[in-house]
């Protein structure tokens, strides 16, 4: 599925994931966390999801030949 809006959606999702990753790393976000403080595992997971979203965006964008 090649579509600019879908690719844009994935880029926005990547930005959201990066923000969530930063919030977990700083210990600001505590959702789904069993202890208080920074949550490195959660931060790494969301950083990986951000990268995956960017890859998905690259796959779905319309290529200029």
């Amino acid at each position: 599925m090649k579509s600019t809006p879908v690719a844009l959606g994935f880029v926005i999702l990547a930005v959201v994931f990066l923000v969530v990753a930063a919030l977990y790393a700083l210990g600001v976000l505590q959702i789904f966390a069993s202890t208080s403080g920074p949550h490195i595992k959660h931060a790494i997971l969301f950083a990986v999801l951000a990268v995956a979203s960017l890859i998905a965006a690259n796959f779905t964008r319309e290529k200029v030949v």
Partner: protein, 290 residues
């Protein structure tokens, strides 16, 4: 934990991590049946588990070292190009798609599920369930073989009619990856459910095992590496733990080699029957307090 126990646990973990018989189930059950005093829930046990997993991941990385180089190259090439052009690139993307659900469920649910079910009775019960699952996967495969009129052919020929790991769909890869989360329940085997998932997706047994082992490597490695700081906490008997980890890696290497050869024509049935029997015997022994 003494050296003998550490070596035994290393051997047990390395062998059962890749065999479809649940390493966690065995790690919960056997110390309990042997009346060993150490507790798996004890914080000092975590560094040991970390090292055992790193041993297993190291063995898998060694076995698939050339394949991993191709997969990593393929991953970057496809990611930057935005298009898949070769089987290693497709495999790299399939592994990414399969790893993400397992990673999400692992980070958010693993501790909760493990603590919820960390009882020898539960582990024994789910070992029986795991066995029934393995037998069920094989029954479904036999149906598929009958539909393709393969039942009278030799096993190797039957297997040739099924696909290689690179041919699995992305949706199936995500489902197989998500199935890994079932293995947080002691007694349910990660490799068992992923090999079974691969069979349902139409893979050959050997290819389902290969996909399962490749899928396991990043998850086991990441889980181990992220817990490395635990190794530097005080009171950790590093020598015993490292000896256990080395044995775990060696056992995982031998297990993986054996299973890849076995699944050229072998099925999941023997492991299914073993799990049913081991689960029932364990339930009996636990009930009788033997």
């Amino acid at each position: 934990m003494n050296l003998g126990q550490a070596l035994f646990m290393g051997l047990l973990q390395g062998a059962t991590e890749l065999f479809p018989v649940s390493s966690l189930g065995h790690a919960v059950l056997i110390p309990s049946l042997l009346h060993w005093s150490f507790k798996q829930s004890d914080p000092s046990f975590l560094p040991f588990l970390v090292l055992l997993h790193l041993g297993t991941a190291g063995a898998l990385l060694f076995i698939y070292r050339t394949e991993w180089v191709a997969i990593i190259r393929g991953f970057f090439a496809a990611a930057f190009r935005g298009r898949i052009e070769s089987p290693p690139e497709r495999l790299a993307m399939l592994l990414m798609v399969g790893t993400i659900p397992a990673a999400i469920l692992g980070v958010f649910l693993e501790t909760r599920i493990k603590s919820l079910f960390a009882s020898p009775y539960v582990a024994a019960g789910f070992l029986v369930v795991n066995g029934l699952l393995m037998l069920g996967f094989e029954q479904l495969r036999r149906h598929a073989e009958r539909r393709a009129a393969l039942e009278s052919k030799p096993r190797v020929e039957q297997e040739e009619n099924f696909a290689e790991a690179e041919r699995i769909t992305f949706r199936a890869a995500a489902l197989v990856g998500a199935c890994q989360a079932l293995a947080f329940v002691p007694g349910i085997s990660r490799s068992g459910v992923t090999i079974g998932g691969g069979l349902l997706a139409g893979l050959r047994h050997q290819e389902a095992a290969r996909f399962s082992f490749l899928l396991a490597t990043p998850v086991i490695l990441a889980a181990g590496v992220l817990e490395v700081p635990q190794l530097f906490s005080g009171g950790v008997p590093v020598g015993e733990y490292i000896a256990g980890a080395v044995l775990s890696g060696a056992a995982a290497y031998v297990s993986a080699r054996f299973l890849l050869r076995y699944f050229r024509s072998g099925r999941l049935d023997p492991y299914g029957w073993y799990c049913v029997a081991a689960g029932l015997v364990s339930l009996g022994l636990l009930a009788l307090h033997l």
